[in-house]
Symmetry: D2
Subunit: 394 residues, 4 copies
């Protein structure tokens, strides 16, 4: 495959590399590359992004950190039994799973870990640099897909692991994407360093189900001048995410993102709570029920209810691939700072941008176009950074 080898390759370094999402990312990228499945769910494979100069799926190389040991092919087998991966795919791409498995390094801190925060950051940075070096990668994007952490403990507390990884990404010169509600680059220590890094970053908390719906239904009520009185929701999910989010501290971060979508699209925060229940028997499947009470003309009371039954990893994986490609290309194009144009993907987006999904989509398409222009026209308009403050680093 000399053609492939001569093309610049791009690394995708996954924090939580042995989790369900990461395993689906690696499996799916290989399956789509091999033509076994169409790229359903990947926005970057639609015609709107043809000219954006994104790295090809076949040019992505996977590695990452994880604190667990279970080999990727084994994880893929479990996901197949659970109906997340279709029968036969994991076997068909066993070589790619094994290749990625060899590039996973131990994460941390693990229980009893005696390393200091500085030592951990250094170790993580070295792992990423070594990955880039050994594979002669043009660049690598660090993507956090690890289980949600409890919300931060305040000023004096130790740095959360997600922030250690974010700092390692910065020190290794890598763009960073936080697909989880964990703190990551939002911690003041990392945010400060990110501001000076000249690197692009995106996040946080992928918008895959209930919040995706809220981002289209919220604007509908606002545009129709209907008054939302209450918006209540319950999420049932199993898998690791269910257990992690059953911790109220972890759920708090996630729910803040969900509420932000409503506040931003409705202009007010309606009554109502959001519950996240751990229901282990649901495995990787999640069900979200939303109940919206609204007033119509003359105060008439009406109700909308939605029930979303999806597979979390299958919803997240194509977005992770999208984000890795877009962020890598943004880095290549010299964009730096918070990538507000990627708000389409997130519950709680960095930078500035609209809150309604349709406008976020339009902005994403514009961003994609801006990435493509310089290649095609040799010196046209500069790519669209998020804000003048940080985007002018070119």
């Amino acid at each position: 495959m000399s053609a492939s080898l001569s093309r610049p390759r791009v690394g995708v370094w996954l924090i939580g590399a042995r989790g369900s999402v990461a395993t689906t990312v690696v499996t799916g990228c290989a399956a789509v590359t091999a033509g076994l499945h169409p790229p359903t769910g990947m926005v970057t494979e639609t015609p709107a992004f043809t000219g954006s100069g994104l790295p090809a799926l076949s040019d992505l190389v996977f590695g990452g950190h994880d604190t667990l040991d279970c080999p990727l092919p084994k994880r893929a087998e479990t996901l197949t039994a659970g109906g997340v991966l279709p029968p036969g795919v994991a076997t068909a791409v066993a070589a790619e799973l094994e290749a990625a498995d060899r590039e996973i390094r131990p994460g941390g801190p693990t229980p009893g870990d005696t390393r200091s925060e500085a030592e951990l950051i250094t170790a993580f940075t070295d792992d990423i640099r070594d990955f880039v070096h050994r594979h002669a990668l043009e660049r690598a994007v660090v993507v956090n897909v690890a289980s949600t952490e409890p919300a931060s403990q305040g000023p004096g507390a130790p740095l959360p692991a997600s922030t250690l990884y974010a700092l390692a990404a910065l020190r290794a010169g890598c763009p960073y994407v936080n697909f989880t509600p964990s703190e990551g680059m939002h911690h003041p220590v990392a945010a400060r360093e990110a501001g000076h890094s000249g690197l692009p970053y995106a996040g946080r908390d992928g918008k895959t189900g209930q919040t995706l719906l809220r981002a289209v239904l919220g604007p509908m009520f606002a545009q129709r001048a209907l008054r939302v009185r209450s918006w209540s929701g319950t999420n049932l999910l199993g898998g690791g995410d269910g257990a992690a989010l059953a911790d109220p501290a972890a759920a708090a971060a996630k729910n803040a993102g969900k509420e932000r979508v409503l506040a931003d699209t409705l202009g007010t925060v309606p009554e109502g709570e959001v519950h996240i229940d751990d229901v282990p028997s649901l495995g990787d499947w999640k069900t979200a029920w939303d109940h919206i009470a609204f007033d119509g003309f003359l105060g008439t009371r009406m109700i909308l209810q939605t029930i979303w039954q999806g597979c979390d990893s299958a919803l997240a994986a194509p977005l992770v691939l999208d984000l890795a490609r877009l962020t890598a290309r943004a880095h290549e194009a010299g964009v730096s700072g918070p990538l507000g144009a990627l708000g389409f993907y997130f519950k709680d987006p960095v930078g500035e941008g609209p809150a309604g999904l349709s406008e976020q989509y339009d902005e994403l398409v514009r961003f994609g176009r801006s990435l493509g222009r310089p290649d095609a026209e040799g010196g046209g308009a500069p790519p669209v950074g998020d804000t003048g403050e940080t985007g002018g680093a070119l």
Copy 2:
């Protein structure tokens, strides 16, 4: 109220003037004008339309045609008992209901009617002209809110009543809005005449519930590159509309509009049917269940279900007021032809325009702005007609 009298007043001539929607329109306009209720559900009362030069609610004068006899105050009482109108409102605006009631003329053709089509059109035209004349109205908009008719019978068949009224509107020099799926101005005879009339017109079939949702959810699936495999729906509704739509011929027109939204937003027509059931005990309330089966990454099967429980008349009435105001202002501003910019309101819009609700909203706001400019700036850019072909023909 000399100030009010000196301001130009605008007529709203309702076809089906004794129906639930019309009664809610008249009651609600008076109640909002009197400050008894906020204008929930009226998009034209939001800040985006402040400068559009729309007629004030207090300047609207109501009349119309109907084949039934029941007085409006009596209808309002029934709607109050059914929970459509809040307790007390009908009594509070009894004077306005009686005033509108006095302006309702007999519709047709009624069973055994011996008048020819030409005679009916002339009678309807005279009624409208008389209304405009007696009230010294600056203009009047004709709005069809009558029960849905069976789909047309083909070339040789008699003109449907909705088309007789549409022709009367044209001959009376009035803009026309078809809020129902009936044929109205779509009949070739009327369409031809409309093309030469220099009048603006809009329609058809108000987007009030299930199709409103489809117009935001369809784009969501398309934007996320998720593959919709089937989209099935059932509507339960009582009232006159339930009975009318239980006729398969009447339902066919309505369902065509619903399918068009999916075809236009998804790019394909998914599997699945739409049912409309007459459930008299639901009265004016309707419930719409939608079941959407879609594929995610690697073909994983997922499901979204929505349940919409709304009051049809309360959903329709503020949109009818919006449409009357916008169409009247468009007429005043010299816009003619199909008002594609009003696609936000319709299942099956006339003219050209986007299919997703969010883009339709943007277009509506642009249209509102275009209506306002000439007044404010005295000779700025001309208002936005639907297409070059017919716009500006006045």
Copy 3:
């Protein structure tokens, strides 16, 4: 109405006599008696109870305790505006509402109340005795329909108000029904006294919505040998009950009852949680969503979801009337102790009995028949008490 006056009359003493449930009880009893509405929801008005010798609705006299001041006619007006009572009924039975209002005495302890527990019990007992005496009632039943209290605080804590009222009922010689999850007669102090009282009592926590459904769906799964893996639920409710149950301590008592139904009908406790959310804008209406994941043949995963939208007071009121009549008749017939045969009505029934609704119904009908026999046959089989231990007090 000399016939009516000569018939023995029965008192219904409501704890929480100004609440939504009590107001609906008094209004509804009068409206049904007057023939304004059929007795929908009253099981004791079905043919199965014709010969049970129950007191007629027209023979019930209402009174009660409450810590609030709002007059019953005013409360009924509010409930009419909220759609709980149909328009016109409250006005039609204004005399009966005023009569009941005159029989409401101040409850307690109120904030700052300096009376001792013994003093409060004595005051309550005197109020009840006075009510019975002044109206020359044959007997009176005390029914707790007050807001749910927080769960008890342990051995040394003060007696909850519900237990003070329960003790007053015993001392006044009145049968007692606890329609709420509050402790009432379950407190050890009251339970001990009840055991020696020779009085019948019933409870607790009326089964009006989600748990009613669970009591028929649980047996279905068990009878079909389907394995329920998880049963999750969310309740949205406004009104006073929503606010009271938003307190986790109050919700705990309620949820225990809900779980008991599943444990008793399924034989195991499935995964899953129950949430009770206070959503004030829903008023007296409540929505309960249940999600049940179960295994079929060969472990195939299936899902049942239910959505119950009901009006709490309208669901509770006819059951309260049923319970007052049945308990009064049981007292008359000499039945004492826990009335396990009334498990049909409760989430967490006293005494012994089946958990499935259908078997509970059969037992209720048998109980009704047993109450009737002595009257008809003059000395046939004794009525069915709950257990031999306490039922032998005749």
Copy 4:
């Protein structure tokens, strides 16, 4: 396995032997026998039936008729891919699938078939007799699990295929079970012959989803004296059944059974329709939405909605095994005529019996007990036949 060979073996002759239900029956019986899966969904494996003398699962031998050619192992593979059978099971029981496959004979009439009805019946009878003979079976039960036929065409029409098979069962001396809504033994020609045959028979139309729910919810409303105003339903299903039932004539038979359950449990037929939609992409999975509008106290309007998402074949297969065992044992015990005691399993049961699921369950358990008594006590009470007319005639 000499022990097994010496025990009397029982044949299960499946009409539609290559369909999804039949394939799941054969696969599941083998998998449960082998201890690969617990007998979830099989009521006859619960303790209540321990002493009923039912044939062991390991003693069942499968054969049948089908007009299709696809080998059973291939069908099982397809069902595995569709998520109906768990991964690995079909392979584990390949030998049993092949053994059953060898016992499948061509059904009919096929398109262009020139055989007369009498010839077809004779051919089918010979196939069944040959099966019993070659395997030295003690007896065989014929079970119809073929696709639903269109409703019968009236007096002069040819006998439906299901009736040809039913007649063949009678002539071969075999008990008969109709798990479908097809006419089968209900055709007057077959009904007459069944009456004289001294054979037991059961049916029709297995109660696996929406109607199962209706059979527990209908009694709930009746027992609580709540007035059901409308009961509307929509079923979405793919697979062969979806296509067959999209034919209105076939759906008519099925819907009649669904309505019967409501009429029998509620005492009236509420408003509302039932739709059955063919949605091929759902495969063997079906979704049933029910919307029930009911009145509570004083006419307050309330709503219950249910959504059932199940796998039709996995729901049906354990019931088919139950029915084969119970009917075989009834035959052995000398019961003849319509088995009304099996109403628990059917939408439209033969014979007499209650309509509520809970009472049907009680009757089933009594029936099971009656089957066991003669064995255990050597000459106790005779087994419970359905009606005196035909019961005990052997």
